[in-house]
Symmetry: C2
Subunit: 306 residues, 2 copies
């Protein structure tokens, strides 16, 4: 009998792409990215101050003595400096602002005192590049930032946003038709007689698909009647990428599912897997590559097989 | 400084319910159940055959000899038997069908041969109750099946469906307002100048909330301007259950967030947590119990603090 590992291999061997589609970024979360994401520019896009402080020339601090520099201007995040920082001068700079021309270091505000237009530095050592995130330090323009075939996590969404992807190409999700078989099964919401049970398998299956963000799912009931079952499945095979049935796959008198599926041209790949419960699992594919799963009818068996 | 564990405790101490709402079962997946689920009847609701076979009296098999029994009728799933199984008789029964009166065991069809209206049994030992799932064996009417405050998994959805819950009372999810602060930050979709960066934090935050199914989220930008920031946050505090800001929580000249929040009556619970990056995290609550989070502006810091 087919083992679980073999069954999974058989199913994966018949897995196929359902194409791609472009969706707004807000709808792309949890979907699978179907395009590589390339840096549209350097990141950071400019030499950026990582502290509030003063942009200086580090050479002004090489004499190991206290230094005072003339303040040129204040540069906020979102501004650009208008003056070049030359020896003897500095510009106040806020976190996130571009470091002005001429400066090669930022001294944090805590190490300074402002006196009129002079800034007195209360430390003596300045390292070139300190407190600056260099342009291109995180990524260079045209670098690959995200591979395709990657799940779009919140972190990936952040990368997509910063690189300007208002729309994202993602893998299209399959559409699914669910069929719960059995004369005793009635739909949720209908009155239930003592010898009937409400359909629960469709809801477990909907739930499993929902965890993969697959929500284009229709669920129908089919009586234990070959012709009716055949009509129902034939209709779903036309409309849906995947069809999943529950019940009717064992060896009983009313277990028409394998026979009906094969009469519809669904080629059996395997029937029965070495799991318990869930053993009578049936899997097949159509000539067009649509996947059809016949799960047992018992609710626990359905969940295990699924 | 506040540790991460302490910060989590402070936040949880201010956590509150956002009420409950009734939603269709299809919309309840991944939500938190806010009602206990009680068995509306016994499960199984009747003595149910677990195999295709023959419903018999086990007493007919106590002589350790081969047995032939007269066939009364065929009972499919969804049917009820019309005849009582007495000694010397049996009824054919399909998996899922109710065991007819008089019978106390089901012999699987593989162990029988049908000859006219006589069924010959090719085994001799029958155990009372075999191949029958007894009424109430899984749960009795009025038993508690699901506690409230439980995440609605596919398995739970199956239980909700079988017990007839077309609509489910679930915990209402909070509404969220996100504010990305910083003059240098521009919205996704707008042209970006060299010294500007696109907002990515709102997208990371949207993503984190989406993983909790929280999708009633609006995101806005606010410049580094006290009055504008105050107006934006005041508006969100009226409309939303939770407000999350990114940026402006450090000690820089443009870090107005703590001051603005306190001026709006948001009481600081903590500011700064012993994590890196993400340390300047601010958390406070309004008198009405709304939660406000001030996250740092750096994208990695936001994700760590979140």
């Amino acid at each position: 009998m087919t083992t679980v590992a073999e069954a999974q291999q058989f199913i994966l061997a018949h897995a196929r792409s359902f194409g791609t589609e472009s969706v707004p970024l807000a709808a792309a979360l949890g979907r699978v990215l179907a395009q590589p994401v390339i840096a549209d520019r350097d990141y950071p896009p400019f030499d950026r101050a990582t502290m509030d402080g003063y942009a200086v020339q580090s050479a002004d601090f090489q004499h190991n003595a206290e230094v005072s520099l003339r303040l040129l201007e204040r540069i906020h995040a979102g501004d650009t400096g208008t003056q070049i920082v030359e020896t003897g001068t500095c510009s106040k700079i806020m976190t996130g602002a571009p470091v002005p021309s001429g400066a090669d270091a930022v001294v944090r505000v805590e190490d300074t005192q402002l006196e009129g237009d002079q800034v007195r530095f209360t430390m003596t050592s300045v390292r070139g590049g300190q407190n600056i995130a260099r342009r291109g330090e995180d990524a260079h323009q045209n670098d690959l930032l995200l591979n395709d075939n990657l799940l779009i996590t919140p972190q990936a969404a952040s990368v997509l946003a910063v690189t300007g992807h208002a729309d994202v190409v993602v893998a299209r999700l399959p559409t699914v038709g669910i069929v719960s078989t059995g004369n005793e099964v009635i739909p949720l919401g209908a009155p239930v007689l003592p010898h009937q049970i409400r359909d629960s398998n469709a809801w477990a299956l909907r739930g499993f698909f929902a965890t993969c963000q697959i929500t284009d799912v229709t669920a129908t009931l089919a009586a234990d009647d070959k012709a009716a079952l055949r009509d129902t499945v034939a209709g779903l095979l036309e409309q849906k990428d995947i069809v999943v049935l529950s019940g009717g796959v064992s060896k009983g008198d009313a277990d028409y599912v394998p026979e009906v599926l094969q009469s519809l041209g669904v080629r059996q790949v395997f029937h029965r897997v070495r799991i318990k419960p869930g053993g009578p699992l049936w899997f097949g594919v159509t000539a067009g590559g649509k996947a059809v799963f016949g799960l047992p009818g018992n609710p626990v068996s359905v969940q295990v097989a699924c």
